[in-house]
């Protein structure tokens, strides 16, 4: 339900001219969201506690999505694997 309400809010923000990116852990409820990044860390979408390097990688990736001119959903692990 969290992800669904985030999608509702994200679409309202986009309609008002605010670019959005959602960092979540569930794929299906975020399908309506304009731009989303799926991470594997249940209950800690930005990464496990105190793993600040990982937090920066995740948030940086989500910020990159803000500049995408089209609706998109990205899997963080797959994106990282493609980089390395």
């Amino acid at each position: 339900m969290c992800h669904k309400t985030a999608s509702l809010a994200a679409n309202a923000l986009e309609s008002s001219g605010i670019a959005t990116a959602v960092i979540g852990t569930l794929h299906h409820p975020l399908l309506p969201a304009p731009r989303s990044l799926i991470t594997p860390y249940r209950d800690a979408p930005c990464g496990p506690p105190h793993d600040h390097d990982l937090h920066r990688k995740i948030v940086s990736r989500a910020v990159d999505l803000l500049y995408r001119g089209t609706r998109t959903m990205e899997n963080f692990e797959q994106a990282q694997a493609a980089i390395s």
Binding site: T5, A12, L13, A21, L30, P34, A44, R71
Partner: protein, 168 residues
């Protein structure tokens, strides 16, 4: 009274759902698949003009325990309200009112769910207010009619041109 077709449909579902929602534990599987949903809107992706300024939004049920009431996380239909609190709020003042996830990680390190310092470490300007709600909520008509417009207005008033949302 202005007719809201979605609210009317939802109000028809709620009485049928209350028995299952009132059980301990609630039988969500019996009623959630039938909860009416609003018409889906897919707005075009907004474009960022000018320097990036990001608003941070969370569905974690975070609130500033020094001055704010907790969300009514045990309510049968959840809590459709929201809170805003200062970006600089000390970690220990941020509590979470949400019964549908394990708070351990969030309490160990708020950055796991609320990446305030992470955004700043990346050199990204962040608006002064964090916007929060408790994401388990079933009163979508109120959330859509009353809460989301306030959230949108807050984000604009804070001067953001982008928003990062972190649902749990």
């Amino acid at each position: 009274m202005k007719l809201n077709h979605y609210r009317k449909e939802w109000s028809g579902w709620l009485p049928r759902a209350l028995d299952a929602l009132s059980q301990d534990p609630p039988d969500y599987s019996a009623v959630m698949p039938d909860m009416p949903l609003p018409a889906r809107v897919d707005p075009a992706a907004a474009k960022i003009a000018g320097p990036l300024k990001v608003a941070l939004l969370t569905t974690s049920g975070a609130y500033d325990a020094r001055s704010q009431a907790a969300f009514a996380a045990s309510a049968i239909v959840g809590d459709a309200t929201h809170r805003t609190f200062d970006l600089q709020t000390p970690d220990e003042a941020i509590k979470f009112a949400h019964e549908h996830y394990d708070h351990s990680a969030a309490l160990q390190d708020r950055e796991s769910v609320l990446p305030r310092r992470t955004l700043r470490a990346l050199g990204i300007e962040v608006t002064r207010n964090v916007v929060s709600w408790s994401g388990f909520l079933l009163d979508w008509p109120t959330f859509i009619e009353a809460t989301i417009p306030q959230i949108v207005a807050r984000v604009h008033a804070d001067g953001a041109n982008a928003a990062l949302l972190v649902p749990i």
